[in-house]
Symmetry: C2
Subunit: 205 residues, 2 copies
């Protein structure tokens, strides 16, 4: 691509570094910003820079936060004895969006994946064990992806926590609502049959 302005070229290159944004889309975004008020564009730049500079990670659950302790961990109405273990921040948001979970979280910051060079030491596992040791956690829900890595992580965590009086559960796996039975993979289908539920619990939903 040939640019008549180095300013534009730099801005396009910066946008094109973002995931899923190619040069053409980057150019479209830059030309859009070019038509906006300079103050509005400055606000955009400032908000993004400030977000990265000032963001904190909750020292209890490692969720993103504006304070030392995130709004979920510091909320009085959340059940601190129920901890949901997730891979990343996006999982926290997905579960929060359901507005059905009243416990707190623990963000691992990844899952065990030897292929990607991620071992237990790179994850926030040490702090989870500490939380179980020091606070009265009753139940830990493993809400990790149903992959080999997710299962490995669940297995590792359950070994680490086996000496503590804490109940460990995993989220239910099965056919998604609106999912077609015939397109479900065999593993999911097999598990959803072996973990079948009494009709009452279905109707309740």
């Amino acid at each position: 691509m040939i640019f008549s302005s180095a300013l534009i070229e730099n801005a396009v290159n910066e946008f094109a570094r973002l995931p899923g944004i190619g040069k053409k889309t980057a150019l479209r975004l830059v030309l859009h910003l070019l038509k906006q008020d300079p103050a509005q564009v400055k606000l955009f730049g400032d908000v993004v820079t400030r977000m990265r500079d000032q963001i904190k990670f909750c020292k209890v659950c490692h969720n993103v936060s504006d304070q030392e302790v995130c709004s979920i961990c510091s909320s009085l109405s959340r059940n601190k004895a129920l901890v949901c273990v997730v891979e990343n921040i996006r999982d926290v948001m997905a579960i929060e969006n359901t507005q059905q979970f009243n416990g707190v979280y623990h963000v691992l910051g990844g899952i065990i994946s030897p292929i990607d060079g991620v071992g237990p030491d790179q994850l926030n596992i040490h702090t989870l064990v500490e939380r179980v040791q020091q606070t009265g956690i009753e139940e830990i829900i493993m809400a990790l992806s149903p992959t080999i890595e997710g299962d490995t992580t669940i297995y590792y965590l359950s070994k680490k926590l086996k000496d503590f009086p804490v109940k460990i559960t995993t989220i239910a796996r099965g056919i998604a609502f609106g999912g077609e039975l015939e397109y479900a993979d065999e593993m999911t289908l097999a598990r959803s049959i072996s973990n079948r539920l009494p009709l009452e619990s279905y109707v309740q939903k």
Copy 2:
């Protein structure tokens, strides 16, 4: 969407104002930036802000530029007697990318479209007439979209310029390279037949 951080929420909202970027994509971009080095994110913000603040529009052709006069208009190797009239900056880039055009440009900043409230006075038409009056322009190529608005603009410009000794041409319209004849619209097909070319000019290409 529920955010545990106002910093993140603001950044997502700013990204989601960009065209073609919804809340989910915005969140993905923000979470990506969150994993980057703060200095890198600051660079991103600065480059975007600076682009909008410092960008100039060439006082000759209205193309974007880092100087008062853009690099194309100030180049000694470009033919100043050949002016290509385009709608916007992106068209300039598209033509420059072909590396086949050696003239200069005139960016109208839009096309005449009464429905969108764009009349001749909102466009850079006055300065085009001045350029024709004051400099030795020999040919003007109308490279506008083949729409009613484009044709209206070409018609308006040709009336404005009819008293000057300047040749006015339009870019060729026809079946695109690689385009299938049967899927071409009637108008294009009809024009490409009536504007048929001798075989020599085809082989030359």
